[in-house]
Amino acid sequence: MRCSINTGTVRNPFTKRSSEAVCFISSERWPRLVWARWSFISPLAPSEGGAARLSSAGGRGARPAIAAPMRWTANHAREAGPAGRGGSWSMPARVPPFLPAVVAQVFFRTIFLRDGLAWGTLLLPLLNHDTAGDGTALRDITRAIRRICLLQEVDRQDEASGLETELLAPLVNAYRDAHGPNALPDERLRDIVRTEQERVGDAAALNELLAPLLAEFLDRPAGAVRSGRTLATETSPLSTGRRPAATPEIADLLDGMLAQEKPRPSAPPRRPRA
């Protein structure tokens, strides 16, 4: 199976790490499968023959930097480095879609982008970001909250409300019955909700950012290439075929306002004194 891999960089919206790598993988079988890797290890060392530029964005408010993609080949294999420092890692010459070597070293977050699908699954890395802690029950609660936040993000309030009563409430009650009422106080639950809301918001922003870039990397007919904004609409999993009405430009609206305003009467010219 042929597989092409391109890399770029984005800023991790979840960890806010300044140096990350994103692998865009396409294959015949999964033409639109994207593996995105976020990790806490330090930036990759530059390769020979041209390096992927790594984002030097850091600190609050820094914008994600998208470097020019570099096509990975066997020549760019690296030696595996220790997690946490060093930052070099190996890639087999022919990379299967699941990248088992990379999976063994780093933590993945996977985004599936296919036409007609909703968001799919956001599988969060376990080490740094699982605010709910260990335990299947707590993970289920966190997942339920995440689903609710996702539905709220896409304005499906009724379904979100339904999930709250039909899924989340029984999970929380079951957990408290099993571990005691103090095991999951309301404050902790609120913290989880807050965290998931932030993640979902960040994921929505990331989707808008990545979707047009992804379309460029994937195999598409030349005629299908359009502006980034339209691509975001087409490839977005939220697309249901309804296009919003044309958004009027503010400057054009102001032209309309100025056209309505009556011209102010000009002052009569002063007559010279006799």
Binding site: L238, P244, T247, P248, I250, A251, L254
Partner: protein, 385 residues
């Protein structure tokens, strides 16, 4: 949203000295002058200003200032007023109300005291640009269908303070501010500028505006001169009638209103604790608050149905789903549900009324700032001496 483009000052600018070298230097200095774009919600009771440099996306100034000027009284001992200032503004003026003559530059949304308004504009300018060297371009919100002389008064007060202005109706700016630019591409997101009806209930006026993808004409806007201040007056009269000699100030009445306002069926008892003559008293104010707020609704509702009637039949069903209440009046409890129920009871098709949310104080200023960033160079109006 595109930033305002900067054009180099042309040689035809006024006051050109005869020496060409000096003229070039003057033009170059003007071209280098930093431009600050300001969104200014000039409210009767509270004003909001958002400002940021042209060409950048960030907002460097965001302030809400009570629209009040305090002129320090004669004979005040040195040191009583900080910095021995002679004029105070906003919260400083209110804090020192015992030592100043408080003037509200605006009444019912328009300038009533031009000198105080100019001083207030100068103060807002100093908040935006402490150095005084920047070119200030301000989009200023005006009540819907403001008369020409009201607009002229604003321009006159801005003369010598702001370099260029644009006056835009407030409910339209509220729609611009309420619009979530990040969601414009989402198919389920309804752009409020495309098809909505905004009800901006301020201190002086309640402005309603039909917004359907084009700049609203005079027929698309209605301004009702009954709003927060009128409710305060209504409640104050009722309290004076029920509790003569209470001595409560208008500010206290306003605070009572903001804490307990509601519309709909009368809620009794609503006990409010106040200090009268140094003693704590409990007044039952449920009925007078309810009647005052319902009076507002009785005046807004006919204007609302008038504007709905002016919408085209193709757009009105979606319009009814996008009725948004903003401004301080949006905080009246139940205003969305009661309005919606009234429309429903009158047979309107699935109406949906909602309040703008916690940021209601800033939507007009946010919209004004967006307009300032998007305005083209030739759309700005110079303020001539």
């Amino acid at each position: 949203m595109s930033a305002t483009t900067l054009e180099k000052a042309s040689p035809s600018e006024k006051a050109q000295p005869s020496n060409p070298a000096v003229a070039t230097a003057t033009a170059a200095r003007k071209a280098e002058r930093k431009i600050m774009l300001v969104g200014f919600d000039l409210g009767t009771n509270k004003s909001c200003v958002l400002a940021g440099p042209a060409g950048a996306a960030d907002i460097t100034v965001s302030k809400i200032v009570p629209t009040v000027v305090g002129y320090v009284r004669d004979g005040i001992v040195d040191g009583i007023i900080a910095g021995n200032a002679t004029i105070l503004f906003g919260d400083d003026a209110l804090k020192n109300f015992l030592h100043v003559n408080l003037i509200s530059p605006l009444a019912k949304g328009v300038i009533a005291h031009p000198d105080a308004a100019r001083d207030f504009f100068r103060h807002m300018r100093s908040l935006v640009d402490a150095s005084g060297a920047a070119e200030i371009r301000a989009v200023i919100g005006v009540p819907a269908n403001a008369e020409e002389d009201a607009r002229e008064n604003i321009r006159a007060s801005a003369t010598g303070v702001f370099d260029r202005v644009l006056l835009i109706p407030e409910p339209f700016l509220a729609a611009l501010g309420y619009r979530d630019d990040a969601r414009l591409n989402q198919p389920n997101y309804v752009d409020p500028v495309i098809n909505s009806l905004f009800i901006d209930i301020g201190g002086g006026t309640s402005d309603l505006c039909l917004i359907q993808g084009y700049f609203p004409s005079r027929d698309d806007q209605i301004s009702v001169s009954f709003a927060g201040d009128a409710i305060d007056g209504f409640i104050h009269e009722e309290i004076d009638r029920q509790y003569p000699g209470n001595g409560l100030s208008r500010q206290t009445v306003r605070e009572i209103k903001e804490a307990h306002s509601y519309v709909g069926p009368i809620r009794k008892p609503t006990d409010v604790r106040v200090i009268i003559g140094g003693k704590g008293r409990t007044l039952e104010l449920g009925e007078c608050i309810g009647r005052a707020c319902n009076a507002l609704l009785d005046r807004i509702y006919p204007a609302l149905t008038t504007l709905i009637g002016r919408a085209s039949s193709d757009s009105v069903v979606q319009l009814l789903q996008n009725i948004i209440v903003t401004g301080g009046g949006s905080q009246i409890r139940g205003i969305d549900t009661v309005l919606q129920k009234r429309l429903d009871d009158d047979g309107y098709e699935t109406p949906k009324v909602r309040v703008a949310g916690q940021d209601y104080k800033r939507y007009v200023a946010i919209g004004a700032h967006k307009a300032a960033r998007a305005a083209r160079e030739n759309q700005w109006q110079h303020v001539l001496d």
